[in-house]
Subunit: 338 residues, 2 copies
DNA sequence: GTGAAAGCGCTAACAC
DNA sequence: GTGTTAGCGCTTTCAC
């Protein structure tokens, strides 16, 4: 319609090549495109250039409130660089994860951000072996030698334990996350180290292992702890959803929080500040995690890192947000220091 | 590697064409593919077939808890049919919406699901004019003549008003959603009709118009209502987030819910059952909305509907969930004028 | 049952 | 500054 060769039209429509074309011609082409409602076919473009300008993002479940802020962080950074993001849910199911990764690879994403990594995740290993640029977020596993962005779990747990200790608690239980997740394992490790470092009696600091990061699991494990190892005055949950489950069990048994039990969560999910009692929790900057992970991946795309270079992971600082679910231990319940 | 022509390999790898190829040959091809870690390039396939097996989904903001369940519904149905979903955020910004639609079209999505439609949305009209299969969800606008799936807002408001009326409330305020959104407009309309039908005095049923579906807006508008038209004993918010804002203002002014003011929300967002007081609200089956919308779109893709056929919209039944934020009006007691 | 060949819409060398 | 050409990886009609 502009009376030019397709090649010229292509140049006129591409901001990076526009300078190669006569200003008047370019205007004519753009005008024709506008008239025709022409939208360049990015599939064809990608087939030619073998870059799709799109990233894949894998999350366990988009409906889990932890992940939308991360995804939003990824999207915003990606959009700024002209990248789209394809989101897929794994439901923490390895088989589904495998299928989703295959689908994203078939769609030729330029790189992948995984919020769904499990410990020694074979899918991640395969991806790395295949040379696909990958960055982990939230769940970072150093053993995998994949760069990632996450909160500094160890320090977060340290702050939470220190807070409870300062309130006089000496018997602190831990509601640990699934052993298969890097976060669950790291937080449990940190919990054991920190309580030991403060000289707390290991027997007074029982641990329950949740099978998943779900409210019902939190409720079940809390009940289990109360039944099998009573006597603790505070409970540190590896995740806010688990803490919500704890609230449920306490309510069901007529126990009050924080009077009977102080509860600390992890993540600072949206709306946990509006619960009663409002949840004391370790704030993880999810949006920033996502944004940083996207930046890390984009930088690796534009400047590929040699295989022998060590994968650098970023640990974002966390801060404890003290609210109403934690309080001083009751005098009668304080365990005498030995 | 299998020693066959690419065309044969293609047939062997495609479940629908597999019957055209010798079983032994097919096995050989699949084995070679496995060995090589071969993943078919769906870009090239799509370029040839001009179907991408992907849908676009536009939401105002993925971090708004209303939308993840809808997206999950879409994804699950799409996945079952072998479709991927590309998600994009509009932030309710028409310009951003335009760009996102262009990007999705450039990626040749086979159809679009919009949760972000505004009233008489020009982007939607342009899409329809261009013959792109479109389905609306949540925000459905009959005027646009686009099929959609949403809750039956009119009936939802009816139930909420009837509930408050049954509790003795005769002065009910409405915190209306943005006039630019179909949901805001429909709920306001229904509110006016229902209160009138019950013979309530219009002057005793003041309305505040929120500029956006955000907590802060809800807080601001509640304050405005309390200041300008005190005397109402119940407040019906067009959306749970607005209701949360209402809670904030009540707390700030030392007013109790439901003793001083009964509050009803809309949507039944995740976690509003855990607030104090737990929120009485109209439950919208978000997941089902998304799932139905996806089904509707997929059916239109496989059996295109002639242009002259009327767009059929689906209204899902809603139900009021009565919790603790509503209670009987106390005789002679009204919200104290400041 | 398999091979041959054309072409989806675009871009990037290369001419001129 | 613009036209020409080849080809990205795949599918599909048509031969045989």
């Amino acid at each position: 319609m502009a009376g030019v060769h397709p090649g010229t039209a292509s140049r006129a429509m591409n901001p990076d090549m526009e300078h190669l074309v006569n200003e008047a011609t370019a205007r004519r082409v753009r005008h024709a495109a506008e008239q025709l409602g022409y939208v360049p076919n990015s599939l064809a473009r990608s087939l030619k250039t073998s870059r799709t300008q799109s990233l894949g993002a894998l999350v366990p479940d988009i409906a889990n409130p932890l992940f939308p802020p991360i995804l939003r962080g990824i999207e915003d950074v990606a959009a700024e660089a002209g990248f789209n993001v394809l989101i897929a849910n794994t439901d923490d199911d390895p088989e589904r994860e495998r299928r989703q990764v295959a689908s994203l690879r078939a769609r030729q994403v330029d790189g992948l951000i995984l919020a769904s990594a499990r410990r020694a995740d074979p899918v991640v290993l395969a991806l790395v072996a295949a040379g696909v640029p990958v960055v982990l977020v939230n769940r970072v596993e150093p053993v995998l030698c994949v760069p990632g962005v996450a909160g500094d779990d160890t320090d977060g747990i340290r702050q939470a334990v220190a807070h409870l200790h300062a309130l006089g608690h000496r018997r602190i239980a831990h509601l640990a996350g699934p052993a298969g997740t890097p976060t669950g394992a790291a937080r449990l490790d940190a919990f054991r180290r920190e309580t030991a470092a403060l000289g707390l009696d290991a027997a007074g600091c029982p641990v329950a292992l949740a099978a998943s990061y779900r409210t019902e699991e939190g409720a079940r494990c809390t009940a289990e702890l109360l039944d099998s190892a009573p006597g603790f005055t505070a409970l540190l949950a590896a995740n806010d959803l688990l803490a919500l489950g704890c609230f449920e069990t306490l309510a069901a048994r007529g126990l009050r929080c924080p009077e009977d039990l102080s509860v600390v969560g992890f993540n600072d999910m949206p709306f946990v500040d509006r619960l009663t009692p409002s949840l004391t929790t370790v704030r993880v900057p999810q949006y920033d995690c996502g944004a940083q992970a996207a930046r890390l991946l984009l930088s690796r795309l534009s400047a590929p890192v040699p295989a022998d270079e060590t994968a650098e992971s970023v640990l974002l600082p966390l801060s404890l947000v003290v609210r109403r679910s934690t309080g001083p231990v009751r005098a009668g319940e304080a365990v005498p220091a030995r």
